[in-house]
Symmetry: C2
Subunit: 345 residues, 2 copies
């Protein structure tokens, strides 16, 4: 293993740097391994016409979720959504999941049942089967890991890396709601902690909070693309904020991009609530996360098939790598996109 400067901490490397660093010396040995680390899923030979897709996520209490405001049933649903979203991001069909949980003795059986009820609802929604996993006790807290297995026709697989200059960048649904949902939940938690007699007021933020607590992976959009006979040239799911995801696409595809603030799709509640929090909606989209919408590119020749469809919004296009990755704000000023997102000020 190539040693890096020992003074470098894990925090310094960041999540993606750490994975790259730790896995750089692993050389695939099996002919069936088509693609290892570096995309939404690993790609494995299945049969003459199909690849198997596999992905694995982990969610840890007080890192990824706060049980003060996350109901366990919704957490179970979300854990499955996060996992299957990785298969959809490769243009595949999710078929099976394996679920490992570690749970401390502070959780009664009913709490674990609630979690599994959410998992089951998600399995029914996405048409996936729970086929295995593991349970363990922990000394504290709740830990969840979901592995998803899917398949994709070989000639329809979408990698992060397939984009070409002039391809149109598109996004499903709208952006920014989960980020604002999280701000609301954190605000109400702090109100509650300072005065437990005040009940949290969440109903009027329902569209925002629900998208944070129980996001839906876009199986429907993969099916819609199929029916429109559109195979994206590159695709990723928006789990870490638009800025981070578009940079993944550009870096692996060796292209640049231009994204327009005035093209980004927002729900009306996002516009209202962003102003309450003194936030710019584009910041919520670029720096937020946990959207589980799909960000993808289509070749110019396919664009007429998809243009005007209310489920898809064109937000920019790929340019050559030498032109860089840019975000053009509403006043026409171009900002370079960086991994931390795009900051307006």
């Amino acid at each position: 293993m190539t040693k890096i400067n020992p003074s470098k901490s894990i925090d310094h490397l960041g999540e993606f740097g750490l994975i790259d660093h730790l896995t750089q010396d692993f050389i695939p040995q099996n002919a069936s391994t088509v693609l290892g680390v570096g995309d939404d899923c690993a790609v494995i030979e299945k049969d003459a016409k199909h690849f198997t897709l596999v992905s694995k996520d982990v969610m840890i209490e007080n890192i990824h979720f706060d049980l003060m405001y996350v109901p366990l049933k919704q957490l179970g649903y979300k854990a499955v959504s996060c996992a299957v979203s990785d298969v959809y991001a490769m243009n595949g069909t999710a078929e099976q999941i394996l679920l490992a949980i570690g749970v401390s003795s502070r959780f009664p059986l009913e709490a674990v049942e609630e979690f599994y009820l959410g998992v089951r609802h998600a399995c029914v929604h996405y048409g996936v089967d729970l086929v295995g996993g593991d349970t363990s006790s922990t000394s504290q807290g709740l830990m969840i890991s979901v592995t998803v297995i899917g398949k994709v026709e070989k000639d329809k697989i979408c990698y992060r890396s397939g984009g070409k200059p002039t391809d149109i960048l598109m996004v499903t649904g709208d952006l920014g709601r989960p980020y604002l949902g999280l701000q609301i939940l954190e605000r109400e938690k702090n109100v509650f902690l300072s005065n437990p007699s005040i009940q949290p007021e969440l109903e009027r933020f329902d569209t925002l909070v629900k998208k944070q607590l129980m996001p839906t992976a876009r199986k429907d959009m993969i099916e819609l693309l199929e029916s429109l006979q559109v195979v994206p040239t590159s695709m990723i799911d928006v789990s870490d904020g638009l800025a981070s995801e578009v940079l993944h696409l550009c870096n692996t595809g060796k292209v640049g991009c231009c994204i327009y603030e005035n093209k980004l799709p927002f729900h009306e509640d996002t516009l209202l609530m962003a102003s309450d929090f003194n936030l710019i909606p584009a910041t919520c989209a670029m720096n937020g996360g946990e959207e589980y919408e799909l960000l993808f590119s289509v070749a110019q020749r396919d664009y007429p098939k998809i243009q005007g469809n209310p489920h898809f919004t064109p937000i920019g296009y790929y340019v050559s790598a030498s032109e860089g990755c840019y975000f053009e704000d509403n006043s026409g000023v171009k900002h370079q996109i960086n991994a931390q997102g795009w900051r307006h000020f």
Copy 2:
């Protein structure tokens, strides 16, 4: 979900009861799901001649391992061994793994590198590719989850359930070493805690301690069975003690068994050290665990192909379910085997 008595705690159900309870209402929906929960691996349709095998394990600090005496490199190796062992237990070939770790900030980068070095050594040894996973921080401790993907020819898959009365029960290698290795490590830890100036004395227990810290999954035995043209009628890996595993085979196969104390294979160090700890070697085998040896059955007609091979030991045979599951001790007394193992006194 069928509610059980709410006063029942998670501890009361036990690990296997909990998994059964939580997964009983999950109905497979995909034709590709051949077998879900209930064997060493889930079984998924791959192509005309092969099944895909998938399994997922989780290991949590201070539940599954104690970093006071488990070196991280050996832990990385062991995590992979535990995972691939599940594929071998179905008579399959392991090809890929996905690794998720959660690690607190108390671990320096070098510690995580050590762990991955052990993972890499194991990947090379077993011929598997690390193709993905996830890393996360935790608020405390180390959490590891490994998913393994393998394949098996459809007509060579071994389920837990395939045994028939008169089939011979056999085990690879020898039993009891990891259990005694753990006793030694715990004893030396307590000596060290009470007097840190005393250095642990581990060299003369090397065969026992090493089998606990760095067990090897029996890929070689699967290859040997293949070359001997023996397909076991049922198989499981010995991860939870022989008593627990033989009951899994008998319960799923709807058979009973008789196992003989005087047939159990022991390393000479197991015999020596068991007497030091005032333990009976058979107790170490029946109630121990983490052996990662294979327990399997062969039909009478196949027995001549394998008889006398030093890698395999016949320890008993299947009988009809109505005859029950029995352990016959060295004095000829029969004891019923129960899930907690077999206790001599």
